[in-house]
């Protein structure tokens, strides 16, 4: 396993999570350094999305601790939780855009809630974020009028509205063709390189993430079975790990 370069911004300590009788995570431990791109791989139902949701407390662990920026998010009071969430962005698998709001209003929503910016400043930030994801022409469109790739990009613009330090990304390429998926990966790569955002990504498509992910972890049967650089994971003794790391290119 590779060593981390910076202080960990996310740390899982012996995390367990079950739904009724079904154990999803069992004694999961790992950490992610600031500015790192971390890619979580695993078969469907391995608990990848659950892991991502634990990081922002959309779920809470049954046992163990999830530290974000040094604070145990699972036990944080509402003030601390909201402070932490303001430093995080979440790109949902299906973008989860608010369907009663236009694209621009979706991006403006976090700004209106958490900043004291004037309407003009908000409009400028919205335009900048939409330009960044190449959606400036769709600012007045409603989510239902967008294609899958556009929705993802709009979701990314909303997730980036508050300039988060940590970006959580759930299946960025699911339901998209290879070209559109590579555009999304390109945007994520740009965020890592230019803005030094810590990216935690769950994906079935490690090939797309290979260009910019610093570390990969593989979840299987609720446990981390491999964690390291692309080369370390690809050369793992575990055949499942190798298969998942090589992804759809093989």
């Amino acid at each position: 396993m590779s060593e981390n370069n910076g202080a960990p911004v996310v740390r899982f300590e012996h995390v367990f999570k079950s739904f009724d009788e079904k154990k999803v995570l069992a004694d999961v431990c790992f950490q992610i350094a600031a500015g790192q791109s971390f890619c979580l791989l695993g078969r469907s139902g391995a608990g990848k999305s659950v892991t991502l949701r634990l990081m922002i407390r959309l779920l809470t662990p049954d046992r163990g601790a999830v530290f974000v920026k040094g604070k145990n998010i699972a036990e944080a009071n509402s003030q601390t939780l909201n402070d932490l969430r303001r430093h995080m962005g979440f790109l949902f698998q299906d973008a989860a855009l608010f369907d009663s709001l236009s694209v621009a209003e979706n991006v403006a929503f976090p700004l209106r809630r958490h900043t004291r910016k004037s309407e003009k400043e908000i409009r400028d930030v919205v335009r900048e974020k939409l330009r960044h994801v190449e959606l400036e022409k769709e600012e007045n469109s409603m989510p239902a009028q967008l294609s899958g790739g556009m929705r993802k990009r709009a979701g990314l613009a909303r997730a980036l509205a508050l300039d988060p330090e940590i970006l959580l990304v759930d299946e960025p390429s699911s339901g998209l063709d290879r070209i559109t998926a590579s555009e999304i990966y390109g945007l994520l790569r740009g965020l890592k390189e230019k803005k030094k955002v810590t990216i935690v990504m769950v994906t079935h498509d490690p090939a797309g993430a290979r260009g910019f992910a610093d570390r990969f972890a593989v979840l299987d049967h609720g446990a981390i079975v491999a964690c390291g650089t692309v080369d370390e994971v690809e050369n793992s003794q575990n055949s499942l790990v190798r298969e998942l790391a090589e992804g759809s290119e093989t």
Partner: protein, 256 residues
């Protein structure tokens, strides 16, 4: 037999969860931050947009009430009592319940489907992820809007009903507007207005809480959305009628 026992336990469990949900809504409604802008938006959606339905229905009820009571009272030569029968019938009995049922049909289904849709498409999680208390933002605001809107809508229905009844009487018995209004409102006091208004506050709380609960806790994708929508109307209407019986007893006890 075990099926009945399981259904009973499940029903009691749902009632318990609904009670906790309602209490949480009350607690959160008095704790800052207050979502004033969203409450106003919901008042527009729930109150203002229900206005035409309530007014038209009220007007029609007024006409029917005047015609029906007119036919009965004519037998006893008590036609002069028709305006009073219309106003008392609307303000103290029919108005609150009919408004409650109309709003529960229009708004209950809407809230249930909207929140359930947001739940299954992860929009509620998206709200949480951007540090917005989804319960406060989605649930408390809708319940507050229902509680505020119901008394106003009830008054709207009642006065539309009076207008309908008056029009029917003006055509049927050539009663003047002045005479009708005098006879309709003359014998009415505050005790005829206040208890039904309190009743509608409770109806608003029931409609808002039940539909928000069923929408906010929905699951199972599109099926869950449809189920939440249907159940919102069914359960809020049932609870509304049940509470009408209980409130009627309380009102009789307190105000008689």
């Amino acid at each position: 037999m075990s099926g009945i026992a399981e259904s009973t336990v499940s029903l009691l469990s749902t009632v318990g969860e609904l009670g906790i949900f309602g209490l949480k809504a009350v607690r959160e409604s008095i704790r800052p931050p207050f979502e004033g802008a969203e409450i106003i938006h919901q008042l527009y959606e729930i109150g203002w947009r229900s206005g035409p339905l309530v007014m038209v229905s009220g007007f029609a009820f007024g006409v029917v009430l005047a015609m029906e009571t007119g036919a009965s009272m004519a037998r006893f030569g008590a036609e002069a009592m028709i305006p009073q029968a219309v106003s008392m019938g609307l303000f103290t009995d029919i108005g609150p319940v009919v408004t409650g049922l109309l709003v529960s049909g229009r708004i209950g289904a809407g809230i249930g489907a909207q929140l359930a849709g947001m739940k299954v498409t992860e929009q509620i999680d998206a709200l949480e992820s951007i540090a917005v208390d989804s319960f406060k933002y989605l649930v408390v605001t809708r319940i507050a809007a229902c509680v505020i809107a119901l008394p106003i809508l009830t008054l709207l229905l009642n006065y539309s009903g009076i207008a309908g009844g008056m029009l029917a009487e003006m055509f049927a018995r050539q009663v003047s507007m002045h005479q009708f209004l005098n006879e309709a409102f003359g014998p009415m006091g505050w005790s005829d207005y206040i208890p039904p208004t309190i009743q509608t506050l409770v109806f608003g709380f029931i409609i808002g809480t039940v539909s928000c609960f069923l929408g906010y806790t929905a699951s199972n994708g599109a099926v869950g959305v449809g189920r939440a929508s249907t159940r919102s109307v069914v359960f809020s209407s049932m609870l509304l009628i049940l509470s009408e019986v209980i409130l009627e007893k309380i009102i009789l006890f307190w105000f008689s």
